[in-house]
Subunit: 317 residues, 2 copies
């Protein structure tokens, strides 16, 4: 079958013929019609991820057909029984096991769900990993309420945009930070109430709101300023930290305001199911930046690496 | 009446005659028999607290008699209706309103509770502020379970010792850090399973356990090492940060293990009542370091400032 293969570290991803998956008990072989990229895929090709094995077919998000029915895959494998944290056996589809950038995949049946009816195949492909990550950090970890004022940093990324859409659908007042005025304009079209360009020096001094919920994946030295923007009882949820370590955090602000800083990773099976239900009930359409053919996967990886996208980069198989 | 008065900033606390409190509607005048010091009292005398007014009678912890009945005071005034965070009107007894280092105090009836029967007057005086702070951070914020492995830093301080006693009474395996081997010995007598002297370089490398709950009030540069000692799903609760800002925190560890860092301050009325119930049910006796006469209050303040105590410093009126 055709696939996007990372043959070994240090060379670009390639469109290659590989052997198709074999059937297994309690599994189904899905004819994949679309998939989507995540930062994780790019980081793996650059060797910036633990436990990399090659050759490997990358890809966590996949939508396709089984027995004539459109299905979507939960990419969180072996979460385990504890809702509060994944088990030691947890893995994300696409490393170490082969992922969705291929014509077919063999997946255990419990990870296969009906595609939300209101979504196109391409939209549905944009949903799984970003959707479940955004859902867990917002709802399961930060306990989002409709009266909460929400700040999402780095609008443009897949999870951040999904968090913005989920919070808006939940009735919240949402503000964002972006790295460009163009992205700010796009976010405002979505319905956010305030936007701040984090490339402007001391951007946080322009923020006149204190937030109940802040969703971040940047971390680094700017995280200290998020602490200053917390309302009493605020929750800061984070699912990544591309800028690295936290420094210069003021604990007095945090304990006096009884702030919670909540680390979050992906989501449980229950989170995935709740996310699908929420997206269906609220008729949320994931934002697609661009669609590439599977054979042009290398170009899709280049665009993801450049970080200029607003929404998900989708592959059509 | 006799009192310990801070007449103005910059001079020591003095044993002085002041006018007694006037009666008010829905309030009672308590004949105070004992009180206890908290770090807060010392910091106020040093000007290290917001909103200091003088002259003032300090003191948050008080036990005494009303109508022949032994009573204990909840020092958290005007918490408000939100369990997750105190209101803007919240204050701790003893600043800005006059506190318990005096022969009498006038207190709104809703802050007056029966003294736990198993406690002496002096033991009960050691309980309120440290007890409610420890109870909230452990139970309301960190959701302590009997199966949790717990690390409490800075054993010796009033809240830390109370947290150790509460976690032990809850059936938990408890470990501690201390600044002296003598305090470590005292903690082991209490029943802790492991102790580490934080003055030893790289002390955290000797710790072979990962903790579900870590209770801290030191903060500063050593906080980064606590992050490394977290089990998956761990909660770090903190109610102070005597060593200041957090630096060099590794967010990857935090989000992958889905750690929660939970700021906590004092406790609500519900926390105070639950704490009294827990202490009574488990027959917990607060640890008293030394008892001073009210007239020797200045000596008690000096001992607290030196930080050599193991347990609460109590005043007998």
């Amino acid at each position: 079958m055709k696939s996007l293969l990372l043959a070994e570290l240090g060379i670009p991803i390639e469109f290659a013929n590989v052997e198709g998956p074999k059937s297994q008990k309690n599994h189904s072989i899905i004819d994949l019609h679309a998939s989507a990229l995540n930062h994780r895929d790019v980081w793996i090709t650059k060797g910036m991820y633990p436990g990399i094995v090659t050759p490997i077919i990358l890809g966590s998000d996949g939508v396709g057909k089984v027995d004539g029915k459109n299905v979507i895959i939960n990419p969180g494998i072996n979460w385990g029984a504890n809702e509060s944290v994944q088990s030691n056996d947890f893995e994300v589809l696409g490393l170490p096991r082969n992922g969705t950038f291929a014509e077919k995949i063999c997946i255990e049946n419990k990870y296969i769900y009906s595609k939300p009816e209101h979504l196109s195949i391409l939209e549905a492909a944009a949903l799984p990993l970003a959707g479940v990550t955004a859902y867990r950090v917002l709802f399961s970890r930060c306990q989002l309420k409709s009266t909460d004022k929400v700040l999402v940093t780095g609008a443009g990324g897949g999870v951040a945009l999904m968090a913005i859409q989920f919070a808006l659908a939940n009735g919240c007042e949402v503000h964002v930070t972006c790295g460009s005025d163009e992205k700010l304009g796009r976010a405002i079209e979505l319905g956010v109430s305030g936007g701040y360009n984090y490339k402007k020096e001391d951007w946080y001094k322009d923020v006149k709101v204190h937030f109940d919920i802040i969703i971040d994946s940047a971390g680094g030295d700017s995280f200290q300023h998020l602490v200053k923007l917390c309302a009493p009882g605020a929750r800061i949820g984070f699912y990544g930290a591309t800028l690295g370590k936290y420094n210069n955090l003021n604990p007095q602000l945090l304990f006096w305001r009884q702030v919670s800083i909540l680390g979050s990773t992906m989501g449980s099976d229950a989170d995935f199911k709740s996310m699908l239900d929420f997206v269906s009930k609220n008729k949320i359409h994931p934002i697609i930046d661009e669609v590439f053919d599977l054979k042009d996967g290398a170009k899709a990886f280049d665009k993801m690496a450049a970080g200029k996208q607003f929404g998900k980069i989708v592959l059509q198989h």
